[in-house]
């Protein structure tokens, strides 16, 4: 039965998303975004060595709507990644595999990430 002419049955196209699978792929995507973000933040900090002028550029960028959107977005990606990573650590310890428990912790991680984002934003707003 290794005939190449046999079609492949549909997979991603038809499979219903579960909370667990949705969070899993989000975790991956967000992880990639975070790595890029950390690199970018490093470069931005480095560029401050060039003097006040580059600080002004960065400052005005973060004051713009797009800049703010990116900051809030990154607050969320980091919050989500941290909370969902806690689930993974729990799994590595051997807990939380029960279907109901996994669903509840998943929803908590998702809701928690939004709450954390709002907190980060409010705290950050008062500092800067």
């Amino acid at each position: 039965m290794q005939d190449k002419n046999n079609p492949l049955s549909p997979h991603l196209q038809i499979y219903k998303w579960q909370i667990s699978s949705l969070l899993s792929i989000t975790h991956r995507i967000v992880g990639v975004i975070n790595i890029l973000a950390i690199t970018l933040i490093c470069f931005l900090s480095l560029s401050l060595l060039l003097g006040a002028e580059s600080y002004e550029i960065i400052h005005s960028f973060f004051k713009s709507f797009f800049g703010k959107f990116i900051i809030v977005g990154l607050c969320w990606t980091f919050s989500f990644h941290i909370l969902n990573e806690l689930r993974h650590l729990l799994w590595d310890l051997g807990y939380g595999f029960d279907l109901k428990v996994a669903k509840i912790t998943g929803v908590i991680a998702l809701l928690g990430s939004f709450i954390l984002t709002i907190l980060f934003y409010l705290i950050g707003k008062n500092i800067f």
């Binding site: 039965m1 290794q2 005939d3 002419n5 046999n6 079609p7 492949l8 049955s9 549909p10 997979h11 991603l12 196209q13 038809i14 499979y15 219903k16 579960q18 667990s20 699978s21 899993s24 991956r28 993974h88 799994w91 590595d92 310890l93 051997g94 595999f97 029960d98 279907l99 996994a102």
Partner: protein, 258 residues
């Protein structure tokens, strides 16, 4: 390899529409994946209008009704019809399950029936599970002991040790879990998949088995085991209510602590 789109010869076309001839008022539209190896055409989705007033409660009953009354060429595997043999595993309403124990009353709207995902289709709803069976064989799913068979004493197991197999020995190898796993879709040749890993754990856990270390060593592999990212589609789909994700997690923990 990760390939999100279906290959050219697997693209699904719109098939025939079988109108209801019974004038029933209780009609359910059933969309079924069809592929005939002798036709040389692409797979298609046929739509059957089924009279639900004269049909049994399970999805398998619908499939039988279609086969008996509308299109006898419809092909699917089935045997026990009681959720024990695992033959009628298929993708129903987007999730893998056994057609014989899935109630069609749970599904609102049209009913979609596909073969198990990401397998070579043999015909209609039958997928080719050769790779999975080979992988199953590779974990040696039998008792390995130093006994020669000449001994007079039985190989005994305490009740407590026996209980360690609960939740694992019940697996009927229907392949619902493995074929629901995206990791298995992309790395099915190398990653063992939830069904086989659950079985591997079942033998690692067996107190009578004398080859625990070897078994663990064999499965401890970047591709064979660690392609599991706890997506948990497996546990979500298991028609027997087992937890392959937990079994895999337990193997990982054993390896980390031994």
């Amino acid at each position: 390899m990760v390939q999100f789109n279906l290959p050219q010869n697997s693209k699904i076309e719109i098939g025939k529409h079988y109108q209801d001839k019974t004038n029933s008022k209780n009609i359910k539209k059933v969309n079924v994946y069809r592929w005939d190896p002798s036709s040389g055409q692409n797979p298609r989705i046929d739509t059957f209008e089924v009279d639900m007033d004269n049909c049994g409660p399970k999805v398998l009953d619908i499939l039988f009704k279609i086969k008996n009354e509308i299109d006898p060429s419809l092909t699917f595997r089935r045997s026990c019809a009681h959720g024990v043999c695992g033959s009628c595993a298929m993708n129903i309403d987007g999730v893998n399950t056994l057609a014989c124990i899935k109630s069609h009353t749970d599904i609102n709207g049209d009913l979609n029936v596909y073969p198990l995902p990401h397998l070579k289709v043999v015909k209609d709803l039958i997928g080719d599970l050769t790779t999975l069976y080979k992988q199953y064989e590779s974990i040696k799913p039998w008792l390995e002991t130093e006994q020669t068979g000449e001994e007079k004493a039985e190989l005994q197991q305490s009740q407590k040790d026996r209980e360690k197999l609960d939740g694992y020995y019940e697996c009927i190898l229907c392949a619902c879990c493995s074929t629901s796993c995206p990791s298995y879709w992309w790395n099915g040749e190398k990653y063992l998949g939830p069904a086989v890993l659950l079985q591997a754990y079942r033998w690692i856990q067996d107190s009578r088995d004398g080859n625990k270390k070897e078994r663990l060593k064999k499965v401890a592999d970047e591709l064979k085991l660690y392609r599991c990212h706890t997506i948990m589609n497996c546990t979500n789909s298991c028609p027997k209510g087992l937890n392959p994700a937990k079994a895999i997690g337990s193997i990982k923990k054993m390896l980390a602590t031994s």
